[in-house]
Subunit: 146 residues, 2 copies
């Protein structure tokens, strides 16, 4: 067999993506609920989910600690994001009936398993952050010239 005709180097990753993509696009309907990418990635795509997941990677943390760990999150968003993550089964919530009460959040096994692909993505982001910033600056410069 000769080289495939694809104009892009057909990475194993690309092949996997293309195959899966055709699956949930052409199979039946394209309802967002049936599409793992939208149903799962949209969650992680919000402003704080990934950050909190990473913060909890170091171990269980209490509400107030998380609040200080991510300094610019509001308590509203902290509560809401934690509840969403809990709803998806990614984190567990344990209440200690002390006085005053304290609540500890921790990654569930499911959430822990999510850490691996997330770490890969973060590693990529760190590796290529500089390149992206350069690309942006160049694009904006050309844009300003026009």
């Amino acid at each position: 067999m000769r080289e495939p005709p694809a104009t892009n180097p057909p990475t194993a990753a690309a092949a996997s993506l293309v195959q899966g993509f055709q699956g949930w696009m052409s199979s039946n309907d394209l309802s967002p609920a049936a599409c793992p990418v939208r149903d799962v990635l949209d969650q992680l795509g919000d402003k704080w989910s990934t950050l909190l997941l990473i913060a909890l990677a170091a171990g269980p943390r209490r509400f107030g600690v998380l609040r200080r760990t991510v300094p610019d999150i509001s308590q509203r968003m902290l509560t809401q994001t934690l509840r969403d993550l809990q709803r998806d089964g990614l984190i567990d919530r344990q209440v200690f009936p002390t006085k005053p009460p304290s609540v500890e959040y921790s990654l569930s096994p499911l959430g822990t398993s999510l850490l691996e692909p997330v770490a890969a993505l973060v590693a990529w982001a760190e590796r290529n952050h500089a390149d992206i910033r350069v690309a942006r600056a160049r694009y904006d410069a050309e844009d300003a010239a026009a």
Copy 2:
């Protein structure tokens, strides 16, 4: 050396995340521009970026083809998302001065390299989509009972 005191199984992924996290959180400032997670992931977190990246994984595609490939995207969002991806250097844009003109989008080397971690994330999403849906249903049921 004995087992570490962390309450979570310290995956290699977790360790990597924790280390990087402390880096850009405690190093100096917490400006979103200096944080790869926010600066890069927020882009991919929008409604269409990841989907278009996946659609382009199969090879270069013209504007109209992409439009039909992702049926429920508006041309406004298609244009805007493509421009943002191009700005970050993830995709290339080539104009063919035909009549009428046609434009072809393709993944850049940088964009292709992003496919790998994205594929890992998508694979995770597909593997655990069912579990997540179950967790949601359970959470909502308890919520309704209260």
